[in-house]
């Protein structure tokens, strides 16, 4: 059991994405970086999507109100328990009265805090994930605030101590190379714009939210009359509004949109979108869809040796 002392810029409870409800206008939500959350859950013996705290840009502190096992993964600044420095990617056995502190990271954006058995959270539309615009799931559908008390779903101590294998610890930098495919309206791009999408380096814009992030630095010329009919979009889809500054959609993305869909980040690399900070460099590496699915299968097989 944890009592929040400081919640930072935005901390929410996230579990499985809310699949299967997009036709009602209900986005997926879930962790912006699902791989880091799965790794956090593995260290405390949970299934991948057990409910965790997603902390944005650190600044998080909590007091332990009952003995428990927790783990921290994702973007990690200095981590400490009651003033003693701790490492990410290890099981932490905490005692009543301890204080957890997650400082702002220098690279990456989001940190995941798991607890043995997962945090108790409100399930709506088959998921505990917080979706703030509609106040769904999580802790009363809202971001965490000081004095909120997070309760584990069951007994949350464990005897085992685990460490993520070194080779499987994601390393974040300020540059992201993401595999990507063409999408439904890629052909509306002028030839030089189409070449630019898959070769130029873009800079992540100042608005980098759970809904989306803009790719700045190269204005793309798109032949759209602005009257495209609203069409389905998903996390990973890259839209290009008339301004020519593309927007990559993330986990909280709207379900439909009226802008040309000019690319899609491949499923194998979508988890990295959750770690992009404003100002980071992004390059899209072109892949054929079937090749991208093979990449996904291979990456998953590698991770499954540890995660399963």
């Amino acid at each position: 059991m944890l009592r929040i002392l400081k919640a930072g810029l935005q901390s929410t409870l996230q579990g499985a994405p809310r699949l299967g409800h997009r036709h009602l206008g209900i986005p997926y939500a879930g962790p912006a970086d699902p791989l880091s959350m799965a790794l956090a859950n593995r260290l405390v013996g949970n299934t991948h999507n057990a409910t965790c705290v997603e902390v944005t840009f650190g600044g998080f502190e909590a007091e332990v109100e009952a003995d428990c096992a927790v783990a921290v993964t994702g973007a990690a600044g200095r981590l400490s328990v009651s003033g003693r420095e701790k490492s990410a990617h290890e099981t932490w056995h905490l005692r009543t009265g301890d204080t957890i502190k997650i400082d702002p990271p220098q690279v990456g954006a989001r940190t995941y805090l798991s607890i043995r058995a997962g945090f108790k959270a409100r399930a709506q539309f088959c998921s505990t994930s917080t979706y703030l615009p509609a106040s769904l799931g999580g802790y009363e559908g809202r971001a965490l605030m000081p004095d909120d008390v997070l309760v584990p779903a069951r007994e949350s101590v464990m005897s085992e101590s685990l460490k993520t294998p070194d080779a499987l610890r994601p390393i974040f930098t300020h540059a992201f190379a993401l595999r990507a495919c063409v999408s439904a309206e890629t052909d509306l791009l002028a030839p030089e714009a189409r070449a630019a999408v898959f070769s130029e380096t873009f800079t992540a814009g100042r608005q980098a939210t759970r809904m989306g992030l803009s790719l700045e630095g190269h204005i793309l010329s798109v032949a759209s009359d602005g009257k495209m009919k609203s069409a389905p979009v998903f996390p990973g889809i890259v839209q290009c509004p008339p301004s020519g500054t593309p927007i990559v959609l993330l986990c909280d993305a709207q379900t439909t949109g009226g802008y040309p869909r000019i690319a899609s980040i491949a499923r194998c690399d979508r988890h990295l979108l959750g770690q992009v900070r404003p100002g980071d460099q992004i390059t899209l590496l072109h892949r054929a869809p079937d090749a991208a699915l093979i990449d996904f299968t291979e990456k998953q097989a590698l991770l499954d040796r540890w995660l399963r």
Partner: protein, 206 residues
Amino acid sequence: MSAKLTPVRIADDVFEFQVDTSRHAQALASELRSAGLAEDVVAGLDRVSIRFDPARADQVTTWLAGIQSINLTGEAAGPIIHIPVQYGGDFGPDLASICEAMGLTMDAFVAMHTESEHLVEMIGFTPGFSYISGLPESFEVPRLGTPRPRVPAGSVGISAAFTGIYALAGPGGWPLIGRTQERLFDPEAAEPLRLRPGQREKFKAD
């Protein structure tokens, strides 16, 4: 009837069909959703997208390649729902400028909007947001140059020839003509959405 249905890959894990009308899109989406093979089936106004689990890629590819036609029999239309709207003023801050641009009095606009029968074509964007047709095709109301950071729940806007209702408060780029007090999205209700695609609907001045 449209030419052969051809699934197009719009992401490594998403196929999409283009169809003639939102009625076709909704009918095809329902049929595909009931097969239970997709992670999500979403209808746009003239598209249906299918996101799948990569582990099922071959199965889904074969399945979708075999879709030949859309069965339009579907459900009965059901009774007309009446949505009360308070037009203009603080509830519809853009109504006056829309009327001015179109050379209509506000009374004439409200009469036109309340007299015609409307149809919910699609739910999308955010939970419960409804795209509703029924305005004359000649309507060409452009979206706001800069979206409002927050419009209240129940706000009624128009864009092109569509009426849209914001079921939840949030950012919004549609010019606003009024507001309804009806609750259109209730996550705790057995039927969370008051309006569904295919629903016939009339607005009434409140």
